[in-house]
Each structure stands twice: as structure tokens, then as C-alpha cells.
Symmetry: C2
Subunit: 137 residues, 2 copies
DNA sequence: TAAAAATAGTTACCTAGGTAACTATAAGGT
DNA sequence: ACCTTATAGTTACCTAGGTAACTATTTTTA
């Protein structure tokens, strides 16, 4: 096994999964990057853009774009914070109404994608990825 | 473990590695996508764009762009095939001259990135990725 | 063999995500 | 208090990769 192959297959796998995600979300009118933000906001309730960036491991500029699109679609609102530099991002009622649909679509996709991979392998893969990622940061 | 987390960590890991690769290649004047093409061409000698797409699992349009950049930089040439639709892509002497530098930089990076991950884990990760990828295609 | 379908590659345009340079606000050091 | 530095977010522009629509060839088929 050459190290190149390991990186190559990881890259391919990631792209394949991203494509599948966008395919499923397309008819629901949102993109994968938007779903990632929505998913976090559902769990955390209200976060600044900085916090979203840190959590999702994304730079500020793409986050600005993703949020602006979500604002335009009415799924998110930006509330000015006490610190006037900050913007607190929250899901709108419209987003909360749509959430179960999005969640179901994504969960079904994930199950389909993982159906051929035994549970123990899933755990193993997840642990290896996380261990490696933590070592790298 | 939620399936979302597995996909999320895979996505993060992939992005992190891509960023590191581009960081290392930047001073050498090429990008990660270009390196992927060069690496394949070094092994296979001459391939059509279609064959490169299939091998790297990439759609035709981005491949066209990557190759056009490589042509402009003088690292690759497009030889018309017997089938006049095809273009056979080959490394130039200039690319072959630079290759060892690129190869060394990438190999060193890979070793650094993998240094904290035990050999057995590397194999395990590689096998899981490939197994899953094959199931999905 | 002429018309239809498939294939290789390109162009135009989209999202995803990165850096650099900028603005506006907040925090610290003197 | 004032000036410097740090931080949150935006804007502009770059690469990576995707789809749709197109051109130019080749292959199939009627």
C-alpha cells in the first residue's frame, strides 16, 4: 500500500458521499453545506458565525455565503449580539417546520450508503478517522 | 455514533489533507488536482482524457481545465489519437525533470501526516475505505 | 449507405471552500 | 483617555469539482 493510494481513496470517497448528499437534498431546495449549518443549529440553538466556523471547521468567507443564502431562503436569521461585531445565527420557524423532511431524507441516504458496511466496520472507520484527525490538529 | 458524525469527520479529514497537499505544492507551482494527473501519467505513460477521468473518478470538464493549465505550464502535451475525438495526454521532458521534486515533497508530507497513525491503522483505514467505495460503485 | 445514437472533449455556469485585503468593533497597554 | 492590537464579519478572487448544453467525430442501425 502506497501512501498516495490511501489519500486518493479517502478523497474519492469524500467526493462520492458529498455528491450523493447534494443529489438527495436538491429536490428539497438546499445544498449540503447549508444542511451542515442547519444540522448544527438544530442541536445548538443559537451560535455566532465564528462558532459555526469553528464547529464545522470552515473558514469565515464560505460561512458568510452559506448563511446569506439561508437568510435569503428564510431558513435562518442573524441577530446582532451584545458585542456588535458578532451575529447570532438562529433557525427560523420555517426551517424548524422543514427540518423533519430534511432530516429524514439525509438519514435515509446515510442508511442506504452504510447498508453495505457492517456496523463494526462503521465504528472502526469512525474511530480511525477521528483518531487521525485529532492527531493532525 | 450517529451516521452524520461519520460523514462529517470523513469530510473534514479529506478537506484537511487536501489543504495540506496544496500548501506543500504551492511553492513548486502546481496544485493538488494537477499533481493527481501528473502522478497517474508518470505511471501509465500515455492516457486519453477519458481514461484519466475514469481513473481519477472526475468528470470531464474539470479534467479539461486541469490539463489546459498543465499544457500552458509546459508539463503536459495533448497528442491527437487515431480516433480524432481523443486526445492522448503525456508528460513533457520538463515535467519528468521536475517530477522527483514534486514526488519528494508529497511523499514527505504524506509521511508527516501519517506519522501519528500506526502502520496497522493505516492499512485498516485504507481497507475500510476501499471496501466501502467498491460497495458503493 | 443514410440517419440515428453514442462518445470525447469543450464551454458556460453552479456550489464548496481557500487566502488576502478590507471594515467595524472590542480589548489592552502606555 | 488614546493608540495599538485583536477579533467578527464581508468582499473579491482563486482552485476543485459538479451539471447542462454544445461540437465534432465514430459507431449502430434501419
Amino acid at each position: 500500500m502506497h501512501s498516495h493510494d490511501l489519500f486518493h481513496s479517502l478523497h474519492q470517497l469524500s467526493r462520492h458521499l458529498t455528491n450523493k448528499l447534494n443529489e438527495v437534498l436538491k429536490p428539497m431546495g438546499i445544498y449540503g453545506s447549508q444542511w451542515a449549518v442547519i444540522y448544527v443549529l438544530k442541536k445548538k440553538d443559537s451560535l455566532t458565525q465564528k462558532e459555526l466556523c469553528d464547529y464545522l471547521f470552515v473558514e469565515a468567507p464560505p460561512m458568510t455565503r452559506t448563511i446569506q443564502r439561508l437568510v435569503k431562503q428564510g431558513y435562518v436569521r442573524q441577530v446582532p449580539g451584545q458585542d456588535k461585531r458578532e451575529k447570532h445565527i438562529q433557525l427560523t420557524d420555517e426551517a424548524l417546520k422543514q427540518y423533519p423532511n430534511w432530516e429524514q431524507a439525509v438519514t435515509e441516504l446515510n442508511q442506504t450508503l452504510l447498508s453495505q458496511l457492517p456496523k463494526t466496520s462503521q465504528e472502526e472507520l469512525f474511530n480511525l478517522q477521528n483518531y487521525w484527525l485529532n492527531q493532525l490538529l
